[in-house]
């Protein structure tokens, strides 16, 4: 068991690690992920006693504190108990020594084997890592990148250490070689204690059972790899996941706002966090157990912004909402999909307080919504489906956009006008006087819709409930507006409830998706999961009906079986 207690490392005044606590059990594979410069490699080097900086804390391996060992004792520790596979594959081998010599070196240095036995062991190791025996006599420049990586792995195994550290084990390899090396690493990791240091989440997913997310010298989230990747709770973990291109998630890539700063006070992540409160700037959050993982966040991870419980709404005898429960967390997009008449718009109206629900509860920011005050509408805005009707014909463009600012009393007159202009520019509209003075009914459908979007964005809300906001727009304008919304989401943590019947659009913009049918949510989950393995037959139909660019058209209607069943039921008055 490898135990790290309150490990701190600094180079001069620059603190790289600011108190790391970790426990890695025998035979466990732990990955340490994070952007470059978060201290991953420093941590790896410290475990080997190779860190040049000032080290404080405790690293215990077999009841022995590594950090207090003498230089000679550290030397015997290295490779005999902890070995490492270094990052820079191309340069990690001595160009003037053969692969065999280099693999053999640590065995002979510690006099573990005689020369003959060491040579024999080199051949066994080469076989184990999938190289031919002839490679022993080759020099590094005669080996390919993948072969070099295998030699490095064989070398790491030489003295049969208990702990192996893999520092970015696949970063220098092409995709195919990468898969092969990952397989090999998986094989050698069995029964050993392995620490994988990487910024590549897919490597962490493939190799590790446990994952620690490191940011700016602190662990911000720690738990089972699978759970962390499926449902990241810390905003940083979510940011990493959103910016990592992969074949699993479908949402457009989003980054993490700002850049890594050397934060002296408070949570290290607070300058980049979209849900920070004043406490985050003053106190360092402890890594605390929370359900299935440990998390270091004053807000307990990503907060739930909006939640409904068993919302029911009836129009006469028709149930428009039938026990609808949804949850929206900060900075995410929940797409509500379903055909028209499934209750999507009713849900939006109930949330906004435009319709009263019969029963059920709505929570906003953790407290139950009873009556909505002005403050609520400062944070929550709606973009309506039919903008022609939602903009008064007595208002010109400027008046319409400025209206929320007037209501909320934000800024002076001049400032309001500037803010309105900025919002209009963001949605790709003109800001000259003639346009600002134009009345809504003189605008085209697409223009009015964009005015409506500008009006919702102008007060910079935290949550937007968007009911088919882009349905009247050209694909090109829609793309720009979606990009804008996602950018605001990235920068300020804008949360969106996005109602759409466009499955393809939902796939690109949402983190989670809820499928509605006849007032009920029939399926709900992470977009990638729902879309790759839909459980409900209705979801399957929706997916089949989604736009695609292939020419096989005739199949579609035939395969929408569930919808046909529904229609039959309707006709028979069921």
């Amino acid at each position: 068991m490898l135990k790290i207690n309150d490990l701190k490392v600094c180079y001069g005044n620059y603190r790289i690690l600011k108190g790391i606590d970790l426990e890695i059990r025998q035979g466990e594979v732990l990955s340490i992920v994070g952007e470059s410069g978060t201290g991953k490699t420093t941590l790896a080097l410290t475990l080997l006693g190779l860190c040049q900086g000032k080290v404080e804390g405790k690293v215990t391996l077999e009841d022995e504190n590594i950090l207090t060992l003498s230089e000679d004792e550290k030397r015997t520790l290295r490779w005999n108990k902890i070995s490492i596979v270094f990052q820079d594959v191309a340069r990690a081998l001595n160009p003037l020594m053969t692969a065999g010599e280099q693999i053999m070196e640590p065995m002979l240095e510690n006099k573990l084997y005689s020369l003959e036995k060491a040579k024999a062991r080199v051949l066994t190791l080469l076989k184990e890592v999938g190289l031919s025996q002839g490679c022993a006599d080759l020099y590094p420049h005669q080996l390919s990148g993948g072969e070099k990586q295998r030699v490095l792995i064989a070398m790491a195994l030489a003295n049969n250490p208990e702990v192996i550290i893999l520092d970015e084990p696949t970063s220098a390899l092409d995709a195919i070689t990468r898969v092969e090396i990952l397989k090999l690493l998986k094989k050698i990791a069995a029964g050993r204690t392995v620490i994988v240091v990487t910024h590549d989440l897919s490597v962490a997913a493939k190799l590790s059972q446990k994952m620690a997310v490191l940011y700016s010298g602190r662990i911000v989230e720690l738990g089972e790899t699978k759970k962390l990747l499926q449902n990241p709770k810390h905003p940083y973990t979510r940011g990493l996941l959103r910016s990592f291109p992969n074949m699993t998630t479908t949402k457009d890539l989003q980054g993490i706002p700002g850049r890594q700063e050397n934060v002296l006070e408070g949570c290290t992540f607070h300058p980049r966090c979209t849900q920070k409160i004043s406490r985050c700037e003053q106190e360092v959050p402890e890594l605390e157990q929370q359900a299935d993982r440990k998390i270091a966040c004053h807000r307990g991870g990503i907060v739930t912004l909006l939640e409904t419980r068993d919302l029911v709404k009836k129009y006469n005898r028709v149930k428009a909402l039938d026990k609808v429960s949804i949850e929206l967390v900060e900075g995410e997009t929940l797409a509500v999909v379903g055909q028209s008449g499934s209750g999507k718009t009713t849900l939006a109206k109930c949330l906004m307080g435009l319709e009263d629900s019969e029963s059920g509860e709505i929570f906003f920011n953790g407290s139950k919504l009873v009556n909505r005050k002005k403050e609520f509408y400062k944070q929550v805005q709606m973009i309506f489906q039919t903008p022609q009707e939602c903009i008064s014909h007595r208002l010109n463009v400027l008046d319409a956009v400025i209206e929320p600012l007037n209501i909320q009393g934000i800024g002076s007159r001049e400032e309001r006008k500037e803010m309105a202009k900025k919002a209009l520019q963001e949605v790709q509209l003109a800001v000259d006087d003639s346009f600002l003075k134009r009345y809504a009914h003189y605008l085209s459908g697409g223009e009015i819709q964009r005015v409506a979007i500008a009006r919702a964005l102008v007060i910079n809300p935290k949550l937007i409930i968007a009911d088919e906001p882009t349905s009247a727009l050209d694909a090109s304008v829609q793309a720009k507006i979606i990009r804008l919304l996602l950018d605001i989401q990235e920068k300020r943590g804008l949360t969106m409830l996005f109602i759409t019947h466009d499955i393809a659009l939902a796939r690109k913009i949402s983190d989670r998706v809820a499928v509605m049918l006849s007032g009920r949510i029939v399926e709900e989950g992470p977009t990638c999961e729902v879309f790759s393995s839909p459980q409900h037959p209705y979801t399957r139909d929706l997916l089949r009906a989604a736009p695609e660019l292939s020419s096989h058209y005739s199949q579609e209607t035939k395969t929408l079986q569930y919808c046909q069943v529904l229609k039959l039921q309707e006709r028979s008055g069921y």
Binding site: L50, R78, D88, L93, N94, P95, L96, E105, H141
Partner: protein, 318 residues
């Protein structure tokens, strides 16, 4: 390697051709260019005719070239009218001493510079490094002959431990071990002077190389493998630093010859340096030309050896 050998052959042909062409391209009488004005004053007309006949100066250039080449093959580099003996004989008399001095000087200065550079670079910024660096930079500030004079004054004149001049004690009829000792005794001071004036170049190069190599990832690998400092320093850093040092040594041969001239003169050491100096003073062109040819070939040969060594050390060189 074949291509390398061809390159050397080409360089050799060019050197020989230049050596042949240069005096003949000079304006005026080629004999004057070959022998110098002074030699010609004492020349009788029969001698002149004999020389023209010998160099084929009345024949065409290609024919002259063939005559030149065939005399080269016979190791005939001409005749020194100043020393009144053949140039080949003169050079052969001086060459062993220079080879001893320059050859040993080159090897020792490279080796010492390498070791000091390795220690210095390894301990970069610590007192060992600062001490060696300061000392050698100070030494590097002195001209070659000044070091010679200084050594001579201290160890030969004041302390009297080493002889003042020469390569061996004349007329003693020593032989065997006693002779070797005598030769080494005479060699000590000039050799020290050569080594001291040459050491800085290889030291500085080694130090920089070592510092660069210490930053290489494979050194981190070696450290992580738990190797002892000496193993890392010599097996990993040292061997890799050797490559640029070797290359540089090949280039330095020409320079060290020139440096040795002054030192030989200071110690009146009977090598090529003194011969060059005297010939220059007497404008004994045939001797000078012969020596230049020899030095050029020497540089070529050393570089060839360096190439062979390089191939031995660096597997990447094909």
């Amino acid at each position: 390697m074949k291509k390398k050998a061809l390159d050397y052959l080409l360089a050799f042909i060019i050197i020989i051709s230049l050596n042949f062409l240069l005096p003949r391209l000079l304006p005026g009488d080629p004999l004057a260019a070959i022998y110098g004005e002074e030699a010609l004053i004492a020349m009788t007309s029969e001698l002149e005719a004999e020389l023209i006949e010998r160099f084929g100066l009345d024949k065409s250039l290609p024919e002259q070239f063939i005559i030149y080449l065939s005399s080269l093959l016979k190791a005939d580099l001409g005749y020194s009218y100043y020393y009144e003996t053949s140039v080949t004989k003169l050079i052969l008399g001086a060459l062993p001493w220079t080879l001893l001095l320059v050859g040993l000087g080159l090897v020792l200065s490279t080796l010492l510079g390498f070791i000091l550079g390795l220690e210095s670079g390894w301990n970069r910024g610590r007192w060992q490094d600062k001490g060696i660096l300061t000392g050698l930079m100070l030494l590097n500030g002195f001209p070659d002959f000044f070091i010679g004079i200084l050594l001579l004054l201290v160890f030969a004149v004041s302390l009297g431990i080493f002889p003042l001049s020469g390569a061996l004690t004349p007329y003693t009829g020593l032989s065997g071990f006693a002779l070797v000792r005598d030769i080494l005794w005479h060699l000590s001071l000039p050799l020290a002077a050569v080594v001291l004036s040459e050491i800085t170049a290889s030291y500085l190069l080694t130090r920089t190389t070592v510092i660069t190599i210490l930053g290489e990832p494979f050194i981190l690998t070696a450290r992580a493998k738990g190797l002892k400092d000496t193993a890392i320093r010599y097996r990993h850093v040292g061997k890799n630093s050797l490559l640029p040092i070797l290359t540089r040594t090949g280039i330095r041969v020409g320079r060290i010859f020139a440096g040795a001239i002054f030192i030989e003169i200071v110690f009146a050491y009977p090598g090529l340096g003194v011969l060059i100096f005297n010939s220059l003073m007497a404008r004994d062109y045939p001797v000078l030309q012969g020596i230049f040819l020899l030095v050029a070939i020497g540089v070529l040969a050393t570089n060839f050896i360096v190439d062979l060594l390089y191939k031995k050390i660096d597997p990447r060189v094909v």
